[in-house]
């Protein structure tokens, strides 16, 4: 059984009428909301929370909120063990006061998002264990995001000491490579990792992408990501847009010789990936979370398409 869900990743929580309607029509009852990031403050030599979410609006009734904490690598690399213990206390306290201040109805899950590596695994796992000991986490499910490479290289990356994993099925290709077709999601890329899924020792929820972006290149050189970019309709259909002269388009300036690769989360591909993953996992109740809830993003999909993406994991 699939529990439908979305990530809400913007700092200011404020649902547009379209976003609300989508949640309602898809019978979504759970949102994974990023509460804050944890970074390293080098001046004070201590971890610090940044980009704390601001609830400009109460979440709609009937929607439970799962807080997500995004943790960068640096606090793990630099914190002492004592600092990690304190970080666990601080995270728990900020989650708790943040929920209370904003009168939020929380689910019984808390998620930590961290792209840990073999070199930070010990610190990360120690932090997760310390989090579990906090009163705020009692009787709660602690989940952690799992990247595909962390599944594949489990031997050296280890398995985080949490109750559930959230498998991120996106950002799987080489973004900077000019010949990459789509770095967000490709069934071929996913296949390289999916063989390792059936033996992963944690129950897994699944996150699938519904975002798109443009990747800017100059010749072969990666120049950066262009988001919230809407070229004219006939160009928007193309996978690549080449600029043969200096061009201003939708407020962006492009130079002669630059080109864009439009990377999307095509419904068919996302569904295919959902199916590939489903084949490998034991049938059980799990959340399927789409990244992410945003009216511009959901405008690219019909309700039926979103529904079919959720259903691909059945």
């Amino acid at each position: 059984m699939v529990q439908r869900s979305f990530y809400y990743w913007k700092t200011a929580f404020h649902l547009s009428p379209e976003e609300k309607e989508t949640l309602q029509r898809l019978s979504v009852q759970q949102l994974y909301v990023k509460f804050f990031d944890v970074e390293w403050n080098s001046e004070r030599a201590a971890p610090q929370p940044v980009a704390k979410s601001i609830f400009r609006q109460a979440p709609p009734g009937g929607i439970r909120i799962t807080p997500v904490v995004f943790l960068t690598q640096e606090p793990l690399q630099k914190s002492s063990l004592a600092q990690l213990e304190q970080l666990a206390v601080n995270i728990a306290s900020l989650l708790s006061t943040h929920a209370a201040t904003n009168k939020l109805s929380l689910s019984n899950e808390v998620q930590v998002d961290c792209d840990w590596t073999a070199c930070t695994k010990e610190q990360y796992f120690a932090l997760l264990q310390a989090l579990k000991k906090q009163p705020f986490f009692q009787n709660k499910i602690l989940s952690a995001t799992i990247r595909l490479h962390q599944v594949k290289f489990r031997g050296r990356n280890g398995v985080p000491p949490v109750d559930r994993g959230l498998l991120m099925c996106y950002n799987m290709g080489n973004l900077r490579h000019p010949e990459t077709k789509n770095s967000i999601i490709e069934a071929g890329e996913l296949k390289k990792y999916s063989n390792h899924l059936n033996t992963y020792p944690l129950p897994l929820d699944i996150a699938l992408p519904i975002f798109d972006w443009y990747v800017l290149f100059e010749g072969e050189q990666y120049k950066g990501l262009v988001r919230d970019f809407s070229p004219p309709a006939e160009l928007a259909k193309r996978e690549r847009i080449h600029f043969t002269s200096d061009t201003i388009m939708h407020g962006y300036r492009f130079k002669k010789g630059q080109w864009l690769r439009h990377e999307t989360s095509n419904t068919a591909v996302v569904k295919k990936c959902g199916e590939l993953v489903a084949e490998k996992l034991k049938p059980e109740k799990r959340s399927v979370i789409l990244y992410h809830l945003d009216q511009n993003t959901i405008a690219n999909y019909t309700l039926h398409e979103l529904e079919s993406i959720f259903d691909s994991l059945h």
Binding site: W40, T97, T101, G155, R176, T199, R253
Partner: protein, 816 residues
């Protein structure tokens, strides 16, 4: 999402060539060392410009500072502010001022205020503090009131981190009222400045931007040099930005940038926002706000301190406006680094022997690279010509920098005579510049001859020794030294077909002669020399390397052997292995006998259920009828390459001496099994390969000849076939044919995803390969000839490929 870590984890190019890369720590490209560089940032620029050194991987060069030791408790102290308080309070000690202004608690200040008001003795904490004493003696309660106000309002700009909080704008308005009142009544200019600053700052944070601008103009116009005036200017700039006046905001940020070293980065961040991240189309309109050429030069330069595009026109404008601009050397160094990143590094990696050690540049489509090459070269030459002009102008700061830059760029353009001519004209007394020039001299000397002869090597030797010494002393030179040996010298040797010397040069680039590596937080540092020998050298060149290492004759050879990471024992092992790959067992034994400590042929098995690993002594002669059991039967004493070679030689001799009338089938079968086990699919792959990626298969494209057997098991198949042909026992014959079929299946070439333009095309090719894989014609023969044997039943139950094949063959509805 950490992109870089993810990319490394799934990029196989570097990991396959140098497996160390895949498993060392860091897992990211080093944003300060991701292209081939020989030009030091330190030559031109002071530490205040460090954030603006060139890197395309970070917004600011110093953003990622995890190699630096944290814990600088004085980082919060603004020395200018501390100095002013010290002077104001006539304190003899800067430390006293810092303690009182920055590190006192509210209750400490309250106690001090009480002491001033009541005449009570100073609290213990302040008794020895000269600033506190002065305030008490002169009854300067106003100063303490100000400090208490700063403590009270600190959360407005610096909210408590680990607390959820809601901004209280009414409360901030009350603070602003308090600051206004205190400003009006301030007893002296010092405190008036302070209160004026506070009301600017608080109004900014309370979104009262018009008030912020007005109050700044009211108080700080004219010649205000106090430290808070600079800070207030930034708030004014911020308020201009918030009130949609980005041009004026950028102008004010550029002024604030100029005034303070400490806040250069924060002011530049504001400038980036206001200038639409250095949108070049805005330069003319924005600089029209500048009052003089110097201001114009600064602001123009700031438009060139961000982004990856070449900015030579900006340098030219800055130079024409203010030749002595302190930003000009910074811009020049940035241009050199962009050319290194975008022209020089790809160029080196395209030349024969290019090692593409930097992951970002492992790929370059040849046609586009060629197109980019001509443009890049033109840019190098234009920039060099401009630097040559600057090096002769006495008005510029550090003309030697431009001389070094111009010579280096001429070198990049392969104009070695031009580079030497520039260096001959240059003179500079600055040590850093002299060192930089010496490095460029070495680069030219190592490249100007078509071939690196022994004579040239002898001439280079003192410089090579110097470079090694510099690597020991200096962070930058650690990288330059590594780059020189791996990207310049090794490459040159490879180009002239001297792999042995190339291996030694790689050996120096491994920098194992350094006791403590400084720049090793990222994963560049895997040993390249040994992997070069293992993966890219033929037996013949390995023997040359061995001879060179055994008896170096020239001084340069001795130097290279002494400092290279690669050891003679490693080379011996590779030579032995190389012979084993060629199935020349006598020579393999000869060489492996010389090797130091033989490595046992073992395999680590990881059990995720128990999270434990066990070591198995693999059996290279395992009868490979069932894939899953290949690690079940360990041998009591592990084989080594040497003992395996001996056993294989023995077997080969027996095969050769088989006489007529005897049955050689078991011998053939045993030999074939060993060859199969030593393949990619077997349990003893480590007898031939040093690294095995789980994601490979027979893709049909072999880097070295021995890989054809390693992936294609052709010889193994031949021997199974011979066994089949000579066997008489039907059950055994069945086993032989089954193994022939298995080898044939391994010879099905599977497509490599990267070779196909679309996923659909790849999927189609994969489906075709899969079809060939599953429709093994030999299975038909196997079933037909041996369907009634016990062995057939045994394999039918264990081999899913056979089962699938048989099921497909049967008409539907029939009992299975």
């Amino acid at each position: 999402m950490n992109w870089k870590a993810f990319l490394i984890a799934c990029t196989s190019a570097a990991a396959t060539l140098f497996p160390g890369n895949g498993i060392t720590c860091g897992g990211s490209e080093d944003p300060h060392d991701y292209f081939t560089s020989f030009f030091s940032n330190a030559v031109a620029n002071g530490p205040e410009y460090r954030p603006f050194y060139y890197t395309s991987l970070l917004k600011f060069y110093d953003e990622d500072t995890w190699w630096e030791k944290p814990d600088d408790s004085l980082a919060v102290v603004d020395p200018a502010i501390a100095r002013e308080w010290q002077a104001y309070g006539k304190s003899s000690s800067r430390e006293d001022a810092i303690q009182l202004v920055y590190f006192s608690k509210t209750e400490d200040l309250q106690a001090l205020a009480e002491s001033i008001q009541t005449g009570k003795a100073l609290p213990q904490r302040w008794q020895k503090n000269s600033l506190a004493q002065h305030f008490r003696n002169t009854k300067m309660n106003d100063a303490i009131r100000y400090l208490l106000f700063v403590k009270k309002t600190a959360p407005v700009s610096n909210p408590p981190e680990w607390e959820a909080q809601v901004k209280d704008s009414l409360q901030i308005n009350r603070f602003i009222g308090e600051a206004n009142e205190a400003y009006a009544k301030a007893p002296d200019a010092f405190l008036k400045d302070k209160w004026a600053f506070q009301r600017c700052k608080l109004s900014f944070y309370n979104n009262r931007h018009t008030d912020c601008i007005r109050w700044y103009d009211e108080h700080f116009t004219g010649n205000h040099s106090s430290a808070v005036a600079n800070l207030a200017l930034s708030y004014k700039a911020g308020s201009l930005f918030r009130t949609h006046q980005p041009d004026k905001a950028a102008y004010h940020y550029s002024k604030a940038f100029q005034l303070s070293d400490r806040y250069k980065k924060s002011n530049y961040t504001g400038f980036l926002w206001a200038s639409d991240f250095c949108n070049q189309d805005l330069i003319a309109a924005y600089t029209s706000h500048c009052k003089n050429e110097e201001e114009k030069a600064t602001m123009t330069a700031m438009f060139g301190m961000y982004g990856t595009d070449y900015r030579l026109p900006i340098l030219q404008t800055v130079y024409s406006l203010q030749p002595s601009s302190p930003l000009l050397p910074l811009l020049a160094t940035r241009e050199i680094h962009k050319l290194e990143e975008q022209y020089f590094t790809p160029l080196l990696s395209h030349e024969k022997g290019g090692k593409s050690l930097y992951v970002s540049y492992t790929w370059h489509n040849d046609s586009t690279a060629l197109r980019g090459h001509a443009d890049g070269l033109a840019q190098v030459q234009k920039t060099a010509a401009f630097f040559e002009k600057l090096m002769q102008d006495k008005r510029v700061q550090q003309p030697g920098l431009y001389a070094a830059g111009a010579a280096y760029l001429r070198f990049m353009a392969k104009d070695y005579a031009g580079a030497k001519a520039v260096l001959a004209k240059a003179s500079d007394s600055d040590e850093k510049i002299k060192t930089q020039m010496q490095l460029i001299n070495l680069l030219v000397a190592a490249n100007e001859d078509k071939t690196l002869t022994r004579e040239r090597e002898a001439k280079l030797l003192p410089s090579l020794q110097w470079l090694v010494q510099k690597a020991r002393e200096n962070n930058d030179f650690e990288i330059f030294c590594r780059n020189f040996f791996s990207q310049i010298l090794a490459q040159r040797y490879e180009q002239q077909g001297d792999s042995a010397r190339a291996a030694l040069a790689y050996g120096l680039s491994d920098l194992t002669f350094l006791v403590n590596r400084r720049n090793n937080d990222y994963n560049y540092s895997s040993p390249t020399a040994i992997w070069y020998a293992r993966d890219e050298m033929s037996t013949e060149s390995l023997l040359q390397l061995y001879n060179l290492m055994t008896a170096p004759t020239t001084a340069t050879e001795k130097f290279l052997v002494q400092y290279a990471s690669i050891r003679r024992d490693d080379v011996i092992d590779v030579i032995g292995t190389s012979h084993l790959r060629d199935r020349d067992y006598a020579k393999a034994i000869e060489w492996l006998n010389k090797a130091g400590k033989p490595q046992p042929l073992v395999e680590e098995r990881y059990d995720y259920k128990t999270d434990e690993s066990t070591t198995i002594n693999v059996d290279p002669f395992f009868d490979y009828l069932n894939d899953w059991q290949r690690f079940n039967k360990a041998v009591p004493v592990p084989y080594t390459k040497l003992t395996l070679a001996k056993k294989l030689q023995e077997l080969e001799t027996k095969i050769k001496s088989v006489t007529r009338g005897t049955d050689p089938s078991r011998l053939y079968y045993q030999y074939a099994s060993a060859l199969y086990n030593m393949s990619y699919y077997g349990n003893s792959w480590q007898a031939l390969a040093y690294y095995r990626s789980g994601g490979n298969w027979n893709h049909g494209n072999y880097k070295l000849p021995w890989e054809k057997e390693y992936y294609g098991v052709h010889t193994a198949k031949q021997y199974y076939q011979k066994a089949y042909e000579t066997a008489t026992n039907k059950e055994f014959k069945a086993a032989c044919l089954f193994m022939v079929a298995k080898c044939a299946q391994r010879q099905v070439v599977f497509p490599d995803y990267g070779d196909y333009p679309t996923y659909e095309a790849y999927e189609k090719a994969e489906a075709a390969a899969q079809h060939r894989f599953q429709n093994n014609a030999l299975f038909a023969q196997f079933k037909k000839s041996f369907g009634t044997t016990k062995f057939y039943q045994y394999t039918y139950n264990r081999c899913s490929y056979l089962r699938d094949y048989v099921k497909k063959e049967q008409p539907s509805g029939r009992a299975r």
